[in-house]
């Protein structure tokens, strides 16, 4: 489909653009708060968002994709409008607890280097624990699942161990391991290992017999059978487990960082709320949301690509 197929109306006449205009207009209402505001940062943020939206509108080829982006933008503007009105313009909330968006965005811009370090620290832990879990759980799940297909009981042991929530290992891990980082990697490893293992095993058990039979009559070797046939056929299930593991990993890591760390996104939020700096607390919460959304966005893209044959 060529870009020209979408009408001007579908491209540019949208709620999001209207809300953007409203957001700009409410800036002219008088401020009701005592502290200095920095509306420029909020407006700047909205302008960047709007520019991105307009680019997407001009280049979009599919209506569904554009609608999704525009809806997200509309939601964002609505949030900004409500936030600005509730804080700077009508002062409905406690100034100290809930600063206006301009202040928060200014703080965000100032803290970019610091935040970058925290994000990097968290993601590095996630990546280590998660990739280790993937490397261990996937082959093990394939072998266990395949042997269960031919009647081996080892699978049930794994089912039992997988039922234990990984948090219970935290105290044990703290006693056992030298540093906070190694405990975090262990916890993330366990949090992802069991869902991936369980999903891989049940995926393998669910592979249709005719698929295995058609591979068998083609005389494939054992490794081809496991990694090109069984793995591919079980992939939809396996990815569900991978996504669960990732979710639990983030939950556990941020919680752990709030308890015992000196770095990471969870530490940033906890540290500044302890210090009574609620602007930075909000910045931290926003950043956690953005980072996790971005990771899952990438994960879903990858999943879609891997399952493009469905």
């Amino acid at each position: 489909m060529s870009p020209a197929k979408l009408s001007f109306r579908t491209r540019y006449v949208r709620t999001a653009n209207l809300l953007f205009a409203i957001f700009l207009l409410i800036q002219f209402l008088p401020n009701r708060i005592s502290k200095a505001d920095a509306p420029g940062y909020a407006v700047g943020f909205a302008v960047i968002a709007e520019a991105a939206l307009l680019c997407a509108s001009a280049l979009a080829t599919k209506k569904t994709g554009l609608c999704l982006i525009a809806d997200i933008a509309a939601f964002l503007y609505a949030l900004l409008i409500a936030w600005t009105l509730a804080t700077a313009k009508f002062n409905l909330t406690k100034e100290m607890l809930f600063p206006p968006p301009g202040i928060v965005f200014r703080q965000l811009a100032e803290d970019v280097p610091q935040l970058g370090r925290h994000i990097g620290s968290s993601l590095a832990l996630i990546a280590q624990g998660y990739l280790l879990a993937l490397a261990a759980a996937l082959p093990l799940g394939l072998v266990l699942g395949y042997s269960a297909r031919i009647g081996n009981a080892a699978a049930y042991v794994a089912k039992f161990l997988g039922a234990i929530p990984p948090v219970v290992y935290i105290p044990y891990g703290i006693a056992l391991l030298p540093s906070f980082r190694s405990v975090s990697v262990l916890v993330i490893f366990l949090a992802s290992f069991w869902p991936i293992l369980a999903a891989t095993m049940s995926g393998v058990l669910l592979v249709e017999r005719r698929i295995v039979d058609s591979a068998r009559v083609l005389n494939v070797g054992r490794l081809t059978m496991l990694f090109r046939i069984i793995l591919s056929a079980a992939l939809p299930q396996i990815l569900i487990g991978c996504s669960q593991g990732l979710t639990v990993s983030f939950i556990l890591l941020t919680s752990a960082e709030m308890i015992g760390a000196r770095s990471g996104m969870g530490f940033y939020v906890k540290n500044y709320s302890d210090l009574g700096n609620y602007t930075r607390t909000i910045v931290g919460v926003l950043v956690v949301g953005i980072v996790i959304s971005a990771v899952f966005f990438a994960f879903n893209k990858l999943q879609k690509f891997l399952l493009r044959w469905r």
Binding site: S214, R216, W309
Partner: protein, 273 residues
């Protein structure tokens, strides 16, 4: 006809039972017949009589409960590179494109081939079954008949000595069915070395048109009811043959036998035409 030394495939007193809750269910009972090297044999019988079960034994996926199944004189111990298979339910790998599916089969049956050669052969056979345009599509984007044609292309492209086909044209429309029958005969008959084919079907016309022999099974449990030699010379011309009075008569007799199953008819001499 049973168990001649030269037969490529020999079934001797083959019995297959499935384990069920209440005990054993006998699907095939005391089956004995042979298939000569290069012979095309069809197996017909009503639904549930054990045709697919019979083929599973030849594929090496199912062990006989009694009797024996031999290929080249040796008991079948599992799947082998000498056999190409088309299952009743088309069985492509859904994560591979049509072309990849065919290439995957060729690669595993003929390991000596180079990659480029594998894909050249895959394309050649996809063209033969009329699917050149769809070769880049995944099975989920193909109709049932198209999927079955890919499976047929894969089995034929593997170039095995033996072809085992379980109602391969069942999901194909009448026009394509005729084309595929002719293509199959073409590929089977023009080779310097003919393949040995065991072909399962419900369709009496298809069985007669394609085969050297038709083995008719009784209803469950399957036994060999009749083993009929098809007397028409090859190459067979469809329109000429189907119109001829010998064919019409032969077909009528075979049909009568098929529907007269279990009526306890005595052995007719004409069966050995």
């Amino acid at each position: 006809m049973t168990g001649s030394r030269k037969d490529k495939i020999i079934l001797q007193n083959l019995t297959v039972s499935y384990e069920e809750k209440g005990g054993l269910f006998t699907a095939l009972d005391d089956i004995s017949f042979g298939v000569a090297d290069g012979e095309f044999v069809s197996v017909i019988g009503s639904s549930g009589c054990g045709k697919s079960t019979l083929l599973s034994v030849l594929e090496g996926l199912l062990r006989p409960s009694g009797g024996s199944a031999l290929i080249d004189g040796a008991p079948i111990s599992g799947p082998g590179p000498d056999r190409g298979v088309v299952f009743q339910s088309y069985s492509l790998f859904p994560w591979m494109t049509a072309r990849k599916n065919v290439a995957f089969g060729i690669k595993h049956a003929r390991r000596e081939l180079k990659r480029a050669e594998v894909y050249r052969i895959a394309d050649e056979y996809l063209e033969k079954v009329g699917l050149s345009d769809s070769r880049g599509r995944y099975p989920s984007r193909l109709s049932g008949g198209m999927q079955q044609r890919v499976a047929i292309a894969r089995a034929l492209a593997m170039d095995t000595d033996i072809l085992l086909m379980d109602e391969p044209f069942g999901a194909v429309d009448a026009k394509n069915r005729v084309q595929l029958q002719e293509m199959l005969l073409d590929l089977w008959g023009h080779e310097a070395r003919r393949k040995t084919v065991v072909f399962i079907t419900h369709d009496i016309d298809e069985a007669i048109f394609l085969s050297d022999r038709v083995v008719m099974l009784t209803e469950s449990p399957g036994r060999v009811y009749r083993d009929i030699h098809v007397p028409f010379p090859r190459p067979r011309d469809r329109s000429g043959l189907l119109g001829s009075s010998v064919y019409v008569e032969f077909r009528r007799d075979v049909t009568a036998l098929f529907f007269g199953d279990k009526t306890g008819e005595t052995e007719d001499d004409w069966v050995k035409i």
